[in-house]
Symmetry: D3
Subunit: 339 residues, 6 copies
């Protein structure tokens, strides 16, 4: 199976040991990004993956390539050129103190990328799946065009298309998001997104009910999913169900829909190591399950366990094996050691 | 608003990563002290603050000055001279293993300070508030005299005086504490202290009831507060209500009293990063609320949220903003990230 | 009191800060091993202890000696020679992600040790107690012979013998374990081991009942203990009762039996720093209590508190004092600081 | 003496321990900038200093303020606003491998600063000296305007003006530099710059001689200095004389000129800790010497020793005392310890 | 150009900061090996490289793959299986204290590799070059057979073969080395090795002269090279010329021979960061130069500069670019920064 | 051979990585002291050593014991009691920036020690050698008494006595030093000290010659040694000859005298890792050589190589083996690796 993902990989600069930015005599360096995490997960799960992006022509760009290649992700189509590497200063939260993020990503090489940087026909030749997140078209007008070009080319090559709506209020407005997303959803086969994404990106607010009153009003999710299916004909829809007990502990499960049935994974209580990449790790597990042809309940358990595990791994990339995911999905969450 | 605090700032040498002292190949260095923390908090909250102390005439003393100035605390009146910098070896606790402290503070420059090291009239000229903790007079006979001199001078200049009783059994006996405290309480406007402080520093043990049976017997606290008000005419009394579930997790709220009403802040469950400075951060929030003229319930919520947040911050100083405090006081303790 | 323990000390290479092995740019180095931990605990508790082992003749072997001597453990009888130091790569678990262990211990100097490396008569001259764990005979045929030789010599010198069954499926099969253990249990006075150990090492599976259905079916434990006593005449039997809530949090208590009475220690909920050495720390506390002639309930409380504390200490060795153990055993698990 | 400096402070992200960028699992964080270093030095030397800049309105901007205040630098006139904090990725060189720098400073809050962000009349009221470096007008058209406005206002207030030409080929061309610099030199009293600066910024290339043939052709420097004096009437001119033996070891001395005499400091061979801030530390020493009214030879020795010492200090700021500078200037470079 | 290298990659565990093994509370982890370094260099220089090895089937083996792939090295033919990862404990030397190495490599997966683990015909199909070092056949009888099989298959496919003699006294005796090497040299086109290698591996000791009297008796090297050419018909011969001033500073140059001319690179004085991989980095530069068809003097300068630079890079892999090598080879060793 | 040393062991708190005290977010912790280093060296060289001291009754005192025992030093006679552990803040120097030391050792448990803390008769029973440094009597009047008591008891038991004069101007004046030292030299067999020590401690200033004009005027040293022998009848005299090129690089050799011959060791140029303990390591090598009955030239080479090596070892204790010392003394200072 050959999979293409496209997006931006950034440098995440994290304060160490719960220190605040003003206390950091150094920043831990993580290179990640939504579609890069999906790519790495799928490569780890044994699939052939190419990651499409544009990187600055300096040592930071080279480092991104090394990080991706290390995970087994192909970078044949990664362009290089002027512009900087986007940065995300990140102060890990704890207890009731939330993480603090300073986005410093304007002017990145990816934001400045042009369609002619990529040969989409070559990219999608022989591919089975294309995945992107809503962050990608939100980065800049150029990347919105890129995204559209990629989706269209993918369709021409008969490639399945998945989109993680992933609304980011710091990058675009609901109006901008809907203008783009509504126009492209018809070409998407598999959609990932929760109620907030549905409202912000697709304008789907269930009438007569406040689904936000309870974070886990599954009926609200189900009705949104059915509506999304109805409007755009998605083959699969999925989302994660995060419960923010605090910045240190979260509840977690996922919900999957194949247009007929719903399947919810088991529920996990997680002591967080790094919550970054939780959503992307779900996307990767979801795609893996679909590509493997698993029954829906198994897809949900696999994608749920994979994304839950991610929260215990430092950095955005989900550094686990298929065997570890199945072991957890199989029910042993006791954290016992084998000797 | 111009605020004066006076006390000792020390070097806290902490073992890293839950290691015990015998395992530490290095010690993390923190510079803090009760009134220094109050000063830093109030400066961060936008007030003009001067910190009165005496520091050794070496690089450690210079470092203390840098740490204070960095927080916006004025050090115009900080004296320098012979003596050492007090040290506090600190082994962070975890679960049911308590923190272990080795006090190594005898002979500090502050302990040896003389009244002539300070020009109190210049210090209190134009000031609005003076704050000290019970640790300060307990350090040495010299610092007891200094404290008395400072309080008297503050009164002469019409400055509001607050005292955090903060009984320290390693520095003086209840007899010594009461001898000093009872004689000076009449000059104090705002008193901070819990039942134990009231007993040890003021000899106020409620008859016929064991208030210690339940850590959070609020009636006990209220009766003590009323008694303190009656005896010394305090304008405000406040204290923190810590529940030591373990060395890793605490419950937290605060109780404030304006002589008529009581207000208790909401309750927080905290994963501890550093419990040092929790009490001083309450004092700072309490003073801030009073100086801002907030209603009592808002004072309690602000001081409660500020001091709860402190427990998630490394080091004694409460490195938070007024906005962050209000955000938490407003009720969102979910630790969610904004992107 | 003079105590002898014999076994293998290894280099544990731990990934730092919850990183996975592939992310580790360094490994934290810990030197520990079951009987070495018992030896260190008993030396810290004030007893005279000699540790019998064989170490490689290089700087790693020298480092093991330094680590042991630092704890007050005598190494007069530690042999040196060819072979390597066994290594244990250890990835700390978190939440529902279990610790991951890569054993790399084949070919160690200890595995290659010969009886003539040790003068057992000199070793046991004047000794009061000999302790070994089931790991030791499992390491290699040579160490099985060594163990037998040691036990027999200990008996000849009238030394009390204790054995922690400690079954390790990566080192031998139940058949191998039973062949050795059944033949030597008659010479053992004090046996440590839970139901799984009893089944794997002694073939004692209680008929007609699934004791594994509930992790803490104390009746199952009690019936096994009675059976073990009946068969081998042990003076004391003890075991730990771990509840794996997750890789981050465990429940903990211990069960002791003197052939007549059972005593269970109080129960602890533990935030784990390092779970390594928990069992060995129980063994040490158990032996200490018996040697001190404490009543059974006190033995259980001491051994329970000692081994619970271990989980909050980095590294396998239980770096606590007798006073700290009694303080916790006395009931204060609040983790409060004394100032 | 009250001194004003104006410029940009940036975040320098350094790879640790001679690692290359691709190897860095973290970056050490340094906050520095040419005029900020001058300000910090002069404040450490006991002068009153205000630093004029514009910082982003986030935690990184706040951190810059803390770093400056810690050094005793006044930040009353530091503006805050939109834009990012400029970043400088820095890979320390060693032996014949040069340092590698990735500038990532476009779009900074300072680059976007407007004249109305600053009240120059208030800034220069009562000031004695104004210092800026050639980097500041090179950052953006806005900062060039700011620089001009500042110099003109300073002149109106009778303030001495010093400029460190400090040509940066990554920020502007010689044409741009000359257009600005030539037009403003008439208002500058004290000029710092070497032959390359004189050529790039002032177009002063000595005819008929290749001064670059020998790095330390002092006659070339002297003739350039005389020419600069002739053209612009500078009261003082100074420069540093760096000999790059390798990225690990440098030779160092400085040359000062008062329009009549030349004075060269003694020569130092330096094992480099951090070469950043060497030039700015010379500027600070030069200004200090002039303001203190020292004889020219003493100015040179003080400024030479101060800037040589800087190379042994981590970070750009010259964390030394006047006493340490004089001690070295007095001739003891043996690095002996006093006990 | 497609290049194949074959050998063992190991885990190097280094003590941090000049600490001795007994002082190391952690070990820095480096994954390197002679042919792996050659492979990484050539991949960085833009060539297609496949690395043939056998790795243990655990997370350490996976980490090796990630490290290699990150450098752009293909691992399609890397086998996995039982056995451990070889370890090399390494204590960095300083001044006159030499590095201390503890080899712990017996029983590695590579040492146990079988010919059937590799499909050599597939490996050499379309390849241009095959490189191995003398370490590889020295590891075990199995790897000696593997090496022979690989060389023979390479020849059948018309692939150029290079060998770095690289004698290791800890792995085999001169007798063993000569038995293998003499029998295979006829199939080698390019030989790398100095006088000691020539003596130990090929038995070529120049009669009547003590070439060791002077480390850099170039005549001795030249006569040995001519003899080697005469006996085995090598197309190229090369070696490095290290001068061990101390464990901190080395002199460095290289000597190349094309059967007719000799070319020596310029000489470098190096402050060492990590001397590991110096020889392999020369081999890579030498191969690169030959494959690029450079004149001999340019080959020597490129290979000399590349391998000199390696000493300033942490870890065995030569993390430099072709541009950096040429920049140094072009003569600028001043270590100046470009801004 | 059984050796006794007596003195104070302190906590050295070092700033990491050339940072200044104000930059240190942590301090590296070293436990050392002159006689403790001598004790550790001799124990490593295979001798039986007991270290006499008094330590505080807290975890820091316990840590000192662990550090000493780890080196094989007996601590049977180490007393415990009130008082603190002396501290030495240490900022490593570099190039021409000297180390900066802040002594914080007043009030230590050792300074407060009383004769009745030690049973000197038991201590010296069966001993062969007693060593102390001039620091020990300088610490406090109590320790001066202790020293006298120890020396007298040692003489009564026929124990050889050695003294390293080691004048410390921060602890006593020349007058105080001479009053003590002159009165006790008659009981000393082996004296270590250079010209400065001879002047400050013994009042021996060679008339008519300025021996300080040249640091290495060996004639001056020889005449002083002869004079010392004449006055006090020492059997051996020795000293180190340090050349402070800079705080990073030193020259080093040693001079030994047996009352008839002089022997100077070979000369070393040293890149410093940690200069602490250089003198004490010489003392240990000197004592070792004498006790082993080596010829004077061998004593000098051994003691010179041992103390030179110390400078390359982190921490004060000389963590080397007899074999390593002889290897260097034998002439190989090239720092080559053996593989």
């Amino acid at each position: 199976m050959k999979i293409i993902t496209m997006g931006e990989i950034m440098l995440r600069l994290m304060t160490p040991g719960f220190r605040r930015i003003e206390q950091a005599d150094h920043f831990d360096a993580i290179y990640d990004g939504d579609e890069a995490i999906v790519a790495a997960s799928l490569a780890r799960f044994g699939m052939e993956v190419e990651y499409v992006t544009k990187l600055p022509d300096n040592a930071l760009g080279e480092t991104c390539l090394q990080q991706l290649r290390a995970q087994g992700v192909g970078c044949r189509h990664a362009a290089r050129g002027p512009g900087r590497l986007g940065i995300n200063f990140y102060e890990t939260g704890v207890a009731m103190r939330p993480p603090r993020v300073i986005y410093d990503r304007a002017g990145s090489a990816f934001a400045l990328a042009q369609p002619e940087d990529f040969d989409f026909d070559a990219i999608f030749e022989g591919a089975d799946w294309f995945h992107f997140a809503g962050i990608t078209p939100a980065v800049s007008p150029q990347t919105a065009s890129l995204t559209r070009a990629a989706v269209e080319c993918a369709r021409r090559h008969g490639v399945t298309v998945s989109c993680d709506l992933n609304y980011r209020g710091k990058l675009w407005t609901p109006q901008q998001a809907q203008a783009f997303m509504k126009s492209i959803m018809g070409q998407v086969d598999v959609c990932i997104g929760n109620e907030e994404d549905a409202e912000k990106c697709l304008g789907l607010k269930p009438a007569g009910t406040d689904v936000y009153a309870s974070r886990l009003d599954l009926d609200g999710y189900r009705s949104i999913f059915r509506k999304m299916k109805e409007l755009y004909g998605f083959r699969y829809i999925g989302c994660t169900l995060r419960e923010s007990y605090s910045a240190s502990d979260n509840g977690w499960s996922v919900l999957c829909y194949d247009g007929q049935e719903f399947a919810q994974s088991r529920h996990y209580d997680i002591r967080l190591v790094d919550r970054g990449g939780g959503g992307a790790s779900f996307a990767a597990g979801f795609i893996y399950g679909i590509l493997r042809g698993l029954p829906l309940s198994q897809i949900a358990e696999f994608a749920g366990a994979a994304s839950a595990l991610k929260h215990t791994v430092y950095g955005g990339m989900n550094r686990v094996t298929v065997e570890e995911v199945w072991e957890l999905a199989g029910g042993d969450a006791s954290g016992r050691v084998q000797r």
